[in-house]
């Protein structure tokens, strides 16, 4: 079905479809799809992916009977179950969680900065059917854990979440995606960090082969704030992790890390677009992958340093171990620098496992499999050791052991 018919047919299920402004905006977006006006050559969101599968889809959404449970477990610690992308409202003196309401459509409809380049964000804008907004109030120190659950087969979730971390606050956010059913989630997280705030955002992805996960994050950092994102992708289904980051005020920082463990025919597409728009800001990116069988990964990285952004530090690193001749990891880091006093670098090392190291370990009596496993673990040792949350560290170790058990 074409996008327009799909949209018209399902309008009643889609947020804000009665709103005039949004209607006009959506018509524009539909036009882009209808006329197939994609510049595939220069658009990384379209590389290595069969876009047709995602455009020509059967829209299906179910409003969950029971929306989420929000527990204030201990002081400052909350756990949320998001069902089909929805979450009930909650409020106390530290945080405020609201489901999407008609009156704040402005918060949810405008994705201007990224829409032009990213067709998955456009689809999200068009078919928006779920999402929530979380505000961390000033000077609080909060932990939130979100489990994302999808209730039925064949659902297409188009979800948008807004996070605002107010002045002087910190948020430790752990999100788990462990969907076992045949469904697609297209999630857009828009994250605003006010002055002197910090977010540590962890995403653990472990979906079954028939679940597609498309996550797009748009973070913006004001003065003295730090956004840290760490993605651990163990999914057997398709995952797209795209990140748009804007360092809009001085002395802010974005630290982006992704580790993916791929096998079979699976694909992981990663992209970062970091804009340094103020002075004394730092960005650091590390994307590491282990790829078995016929799996494929991409990492497109673009760091843009504006002319006012003096004293910028920007680092990009991609590393990969290819465990099979048929696996591939394509990495393309780019730097565009318009300021003169900056420290930027990028590096990439992708290749098969180090045969000399394997020989060394085996020559001491270790089996080939054991040697391979120990080298894979050592490859991500630094990242795993830096997880300072014991429970999370355990979860990830377990998933790593499961992945390694398939390595021969």
């Amino acid at each position: 079905m074409n996008i327009q018919d799909n949209y018209l047919k399902n309008k009643k299920n889609i947020f804000f479809s009665e709103n005039k402004d949004i209607q006009t905006h959506r018509e524009k977006l539909i036009n882009i799809f209808e006329n197939d006006r994609f510049d595939k050559k220069n658009n990384e969101s379209l590389k290595n992916i069969n876009l047709k599968n995602f455009i020509d889809f059967n829209y299906k959404y179910l409003i969950p009977e029971e929306t989420s449970v929000i527990n204030n477990n201990h002081e400052n610690s909350y756990s949320i179950v998001s069902v089909n992308g929805q979450c009930s409202s909650f409020k106390d003196d530290k945080i405020e969680i609201t489901k999407i309401l008609d009156e704040d459509y402005n918060d949810f409809s405008k994705n201007d900065t990224i829409e032009n380049n990213d067709h998955f964000v456009n689809l999200n804008s068009l078919f928006l059917n779920s999402g929530f907004k979380i505000v961390i109030k000033k000077n609080n120190n909060i932990k939130i854990r979100i489990s994302n659950i999808i209730t039925d087969d064949d659902l297409t979730i188009f979800q948008k979440n807004n996070y605002i971390c107010e002045d002087g606050s910190s948020l430790n956010l752990i999100e788990e995606y462990e969907n076992k059913n045949n469904s697609t989630s297209n999630i857009l997280n828009v994250i605003k960090l006010e002055k002197n705030s910090q977010i540590n955002h962890f995403l653990i992805q472990d979906n079954s082969p028939n679940h597609n996960l498309i996550i797009t994050t748009h973070s913006s950092c004001k003065k003295d704030s730090t956004y840290i994102q760490k993605v651990y992708n163990f999914s057997e289904g398709y995952v797209r992790n795209f990140h748009y980051s804007e360092l809009i005020e001085a002395n802010s920082e974005a630290d982006l890390q992704g580790i993916f463990f791929l096998k079979d025919n699976n694909t992981s597409n990663n992209k970062t677009f970091v804009k340094h728009l103020a002075e004394d800001c730092k960005s650091n990116q590390v994307y590491k992958g282990i790829l078995k069988d016929r799996s494929k990964a991409t990492y497109f990285s673009n760091t843009h340093v504006d002319q006012v952004a003096q004293k910028t530090e920007g680092y990009q690193l991609s590393k990969g171990i290819l465990l099979s001749d048929n696996a591939s990891y394509f990495s393309k880091p780019e730097l565009k620098i318009y300021a003169d006093d900056v420290k930027c670098s990028h590096g990439s090392t992708i290749g098969p496992i180090d045969e000399n190291a394997i020989f060394y370990l085996r020559s001491r009596g270790m089996s080939k499999i054991a040697a391979t496993k120990i080298l894979i673990s050592s490859f991500i040792n630094e990242e795993l050791n830096s997880i300072d949350n014991e429970q999370m560290s355990e979860i990830i170790q377990k998933k790593l052991v499961r992945y390694l058990s398939k390595v021969k």
Partner: protein
């Protein structure tokens, strides 16, 4: 016979390296191989340890009643072969202690011996390390990573004393060592030596052989052993170089 190499010819990337090489080593013997750079000494060591890059054109090797070519790399190690590398490989992120612990246990398993537990292993490792003048802090580091040349060689010998092999091949373990370190390393070797194990020591200086007295010295030139004899050959080479053997 403990180790018997018969008519061994080996090639790599279309280049013949070893040419009809013969060598026999009995239990309890120390053999030295001396030869100029590029004569194929490391190739021989690597072929013995099982490195897979080489093409065996001809010949056979028997080790403790096994056809060596029937054993893979780790099986050879578990059967008691040990190679101290000329260039030990740096393996960042792999901690020395658990690695050596798992190595010794895989050997014990094959020999149907009981596995050694964490505590006893830690003790063993500490005492061997202090014998070799190795700082305890080094045992917390990653395999060979950031080690100096001398540290790497000492660490090879530490692994050797932990694994207690039947046949130890030392590939230029002396290079990069100052005289004090050489003394410590050779002491380690001498301590390990019994009537039941054998050593194959590859070097191109006589110095090492002053500390570890070999029973036999072989001269290797251009992929073959061209002369065998006693310690006096080493003295001859020290004086006149390899010219007259070439």
């Amino acid at each position: 016979m403990f180790l018997e190499i018969k008519d061994l010819s080996v090639k790599i990337e279309n280049k013949n390296i070893l040419k009809s090489l013969n060598l026999n080593i009995n239990k309890g013997e120390v053999h030295a191989i001396m030869g100029p750079n590029g004569s194929g000494k490391s190739t021989l060591a690597n072929v013995l340890a099982g490195k897979e890059d080489y093409e065996i054109l001809n010949g056979r090797i028997n080790f403790k009643d096994n056809n060596l070519f029937d054993l893979n790399i780790e099986e050879r190690a578990q059967e008691g072969m040990f190679l101290a590398f000329q260039y030990p490989v740096e393996i960042p992120g792999v901690n020395i202690t658990p690695f050596l612990h798992s190595a010794i246990n895989s050997k014990r398993k094959r020999m149907s011996e009981e596995e050694i537990d964490n505590l006893s292993f830690a003790k063993l490792l500490k005492s061997k390390a202090s014998d070799l003048g190795i700082n305890i802090d080094m045992l917390k580091r990653s395999v060979n990573t950031g080690f100096s040349g001398g540290e790497k060689k000492r660490y090879e010998i530490l692994q050797m004393s932990i694994l207690n092999p039947d046949l130890a091949i030392l590939d230029e373990t002396d290079s990069g060592l100052d005289i004090d370190a050489l003394k410590i390393v050779t002491d380690g070797v001498n301590k390990l030596k019994t009537k039941d194990n054998s050593f194959l020591i590859i070097t191109h200086y006589q110095k090492l052989l002053d500390y570890i007295k070999p029973d036999y010295v072989h001269v290797m030139v251009n992929g073959s052993i061209v002369k065998s004899g006693g310690y006096e050959i080493a003295a001859e080479i020290e004086k006149d170089g390899f010219q007259k053997f070439q």
